[in-house]
């Protein structure tokens, strides 16, 4: 059998970005969930621009919400078609971050993950302390091939966020959780993850030794709200 061009189907290189967003009850306080929705909505055009500038890359967005349980809100959505759907904080909802890690672990092991794609970017956003025994679930996520290789970022909303969970999740001493104590800082943190960190993870540079993206500049001066 002969055919016109050797090799199988070609495709753009897939770059998956995952946002794991806390929707526990505390996120309803002081407008945190509203600001998170606003910031995410505002960052989408920047991600679409990043893809437009890099025709060899297809960015796909995944969002999961976690409170007492974790659920996927959207999966494998091409960023060019992505529209942010507002998340709602769940009354009485706890911060069972372990459930989020379990969903991420299953996704990283899924056959849908492209063998030759870019390492995924996974961003955990939370305002509180874990209310479950998350460690075994985190370890299981980190032990998967893509979980281990993924670029992990974390945003702590307010001073009550448990930075130690976020640090363990990032699992890289060169990357620190980003603290956001007011809406401006949250916007800046989400913009950083969705553009600078994503670009570092997925835009072809030809190849150099692995280095984490430079952290965002110091938080904008402003009153702490959270």
């Amino acid at each position: 059998m002969s055919k016109e061009r050797p090799g199988g189907s070609t495709s753009k290189r897939i770059s998956q970005v995952y946002y794991a967003c806390d929707t526990s009850e505390s996120m309803s306080e002081n407008g945190k969930i509203t600001e998170l929705n606003n910031c995410m909505r505002e960052t989408i055009p920047h991600m679409q621009k990043l893809e437009d500038e890099n025709p060899a890359v297809e960015i796909q967005v995944n969002v999961l919400a976690f409170n007492t349980n974790a659920t996927w809100v959207i999966q494998n959505k091409p960023v060019k078609d992505f529209v942010w759907s507002d998340l709602e904080a769940k009354p009485g909802g706890e911060t069972n971050v372990g459930d989020a890690f379990s969903l991420l672990e299953m996704q990283m092991k899924s056959p849908e993950m492209p063998e030759r794609g870019y390492p995924p970017l996974v961003c955990l956003i939370t305002d509180g302390y874990a209310t479950d025994s998350y460690k075994p679930m985190l370890d299981a996520f980190l032990s998967t091939n893509w979980g281990h290789k993924s670029i992990k970022q974390a945003i702590a909303i307010g001073k009550d966020a448990d930075v130690s969970v976020l640090t363990k999740f990032i699992n890289n001493s060169e990357i620190k959780p980003i603290q956001a104590n007011n809406p401006e800082q949250l916007a800046k943190a989400i913009r950083f993850v969705s553009t600078v960190a994503l670009k570092k993870a997925s835009v072809p540079t030809g190849g150099t030794p692995p280095t984490p993206p430079a952290p965002p500049a110091d938080p904008e001066p402003g009153d702490d709200v959270w």
Partner: protein, 315 residues
Amino acid sequence: MKIKHSIARSMRGISHSKSGLPNQDSLLLKTNGCHQLVAAVADGHGSSNCFRSDSGSRFATEIFASIANDLPVFTSYHEAKTYAESLPVKLVNEWKKRVDNDLVISPYANHEINESNADNPYLPYGCTFLGCYISSKYAICLQIGDGEMFALYSNGETKYLVPGDDRLNGNATTSLCLPDAEKDFRISVIDLEGEILPEIIILATDGLGQSYANDSELLKWGVDLKDIYNAKSGVETLETNLAVWLDDISFGASADDISMVAFWLEKEESNLHPDKLNTARDENAKSTLLKEEKKRKGPFWFFRNKKNKIFDINN
């Protein structure tokens, strides 16, 4: 085992056409008769910190050609393996010397010096490298960094020729420019007189591999090249079309430069294996072997003999 055919092309990717950067890849294909072949592809990183990587990739392929010139015909697997293991140090040392010489002729301008290349002057020349040396009974394969080197075997399987490397992750790659680069090479030696033999060997820079979501789609190249070759009964069609295919793939997927060398191997039918001739004890034995070979090949065989092939594309 003898070398039947070989093809090679290097194409500038659309991303470099748009940015005005030259092709950062280099490619080498050199055959010496039917029993020796040197093939290499090297991919200059092309990032802003690696602004001389087109030269770096050219140095790598040229140095490999020069090292291969001095390699002997291996008489045992052990000997081939020992040589293979010595190649990374030689290649890295010679490559660094070449960069040092280039820096004497063309030192970095003030505006080119930054923190990265002040620490590591080799960084602007950074590149990956994939090389294959075939000498009659053995193939030596060596690779540093990303890119693809695989073979279609006589049992129909297509397999990578060197072990994988977990550090090749997205944009990150090992490179000739990094400290201790010689330790980052992956090496293999293939016995070409075994039961299951490579029929087609392919070396390609990562612009090819990045165009496929899965290994299985990429590795179809092996069997497809065989099918196309058999259907069209010739290598000329393949050679002409290779440039179009690589261009098409780069345009539709990776947008990166793609360089590829592919060559066909077949079982040696001759009784006059070079080793046999070399080890023939006296002139009478040699003469008998030569007569037998002449009889087997028939008259005017030398008109059918392919010329040596040298294909050296340096961006």
